[in-house]
């Protein structure tokens, strides 16, 4: 399918393009219908920026809920229904701005730019204005320069560390998680879902685990078992 090779700037853009491809309005039914396609796109995550994976997964989890609700309506709760309503509203809001951005794109393409007074291309000792002259600030000494530079370096170091951590965080793919769960099923015929949650390092990984389990259920490798609402979910190997 062509859409799978396209790169999307975010989950809402992907959602909207899927819905519009089906020529549907933004409704719960439409969302349920395109859930599979959305997840199929996500699996080939080569076109998703690593720092956006989490945002795509949050929406994936919502779509799966909507889909499961379409199949098993008695499972829904008012809070969760409100969340669906919110997703629809959010999507409509996004659509407004997407359309507005096309308007801006058109304006920019007309090249009706306004310009400031030209300060000339760079040259030796460029003089910007005739009134330019050496006028240093009063209270500045070389020690202050050193302090400021040290401060800047400290700030940049902190920023650099943060960036690195961010990149490492999003390294688990659904496929990797599926393999992990398959291995687990080889050792044990049954285990609880909370065990998977415990083994997940962060929120993103929990969502990935959830998607992986759902995928394996779809492929008929496992089934769920739950005694009642909010009670522990057990995962059992099939065959």
């Amino acid at each position: 399918m062509e859409f799978r090779s396209e790169k999307f700037g975010g989950p809402l853009e992907l959602l909207l393009s899927l819905i519009e491809k089906e020529e549907m309005d933004i409704t719960e039914i439409a969302l349920a219908k395109i859930a599979d396609e959305y997840i199929a796109y996500l699996k080939n995550s080569a076109h998703i920026d690593p720092e956006q994976v989490a945002d795509f997964l949050v929406i994936a989890a919502k779509l799966l809920y909507i889909k499961s609700k379409a199949l098993l309506p008695y499972l829904s709760t008012p809070e969760e229904d409100e969340e669906i309503e919110e997703l629809e509203q959010q999507l409509r809001m996004y659509k407004e701005f997407q359309e507005a951005s096309k308007g801006l794109e058109k304006m920019l393409s007309k090249k009706k730019f306004s310009f400031v007074r030209d300060l000339g291309k760079s040259g030796k000792r460029r003089q910007l204005f005739v009134w330019q002259k050496f006028s240093p600030p009063k209270n500045l000494n070389k020690e202050m320069l050193r302090e400021h530079f040290d401060y800047i370096l400290g700030f940049l170091t902190a920023e650099e560390i943060e960036l690195k951590e961010e990149v490492i965080e999003h390294k688990i793919s659904i496929d990797e998680k599926i393999i992990l769960i398959q291995k687990k099923l080889m050792d044990k015929i049954t285990f609880s879902f909370s065990q998977i949650i415990r083994e997940s390092g962060n929120k993103t990984e929990i969502i990935v685990s959830f998607l992986a389990v759902l995928e394996l259920a779809k492929q008929r490798e496992l089934v769920f078992e739950q005694d009642g609402l909010f009670s522990e979910i057990f995962i059992n190997k099939l065959n």
């Binding site: 700037g9 945002d55 959010q90 809001m93 996004y94 310009f115 400031v116 961010e166 929120k203």
Partner: protein, 189 residues
Amino acid sequence: MATLKSQLESLMFVANKPLTVKELADLLKIKTAEVDSAMDELSLDYTNAGSGLQVIKNNGKYQMVSSAENAAVVQEFIKDETSGELSRPSLEALTVIAYRGPITKIDLDRIRGVNCSLIIRNLLIRGLIEEKADKEKKESFYNVTMDFIRYLGINRLEDLPDYERLHKDDTIDKILNREEPMEIVSDSI
């Protein structure tokens, strides 16, 4: 008063950069409201006379620029090669900031449904948006810059199509003010 308008005109010409209403008021020792009304008048004069100049107002600042109508001949003269092309995500973020600014990062994230840290950094570096820190609220707000407005060929953001509606939209406000409208999992950079 003719003199006041004339003084403002001279100042903006010489400055060749955005000047805040306050800077102008202090220089001329008048009230900011007087600056605003003289500037409105000047801007109207330029439009009515089909002048080659115009005044852009943005975010409490004024700047004198050449009129958008004459873009082609000016661009030829200064051999400017600006294409005005932007990537889709950049354009989308700029649109949201133009219509909803001043806007926080979290609200921008909510509207686009995705973490916008890198795009914000990119737009800041390119001078298309600017950041203003609100120390009391411990939050940063983003606005588009004069430079971006210069590329659009308008005098102020209010001239954007549908500005009034999108800027004040109730539904959008409601969605943005929800307690936990959408979880952005990854933290900001």
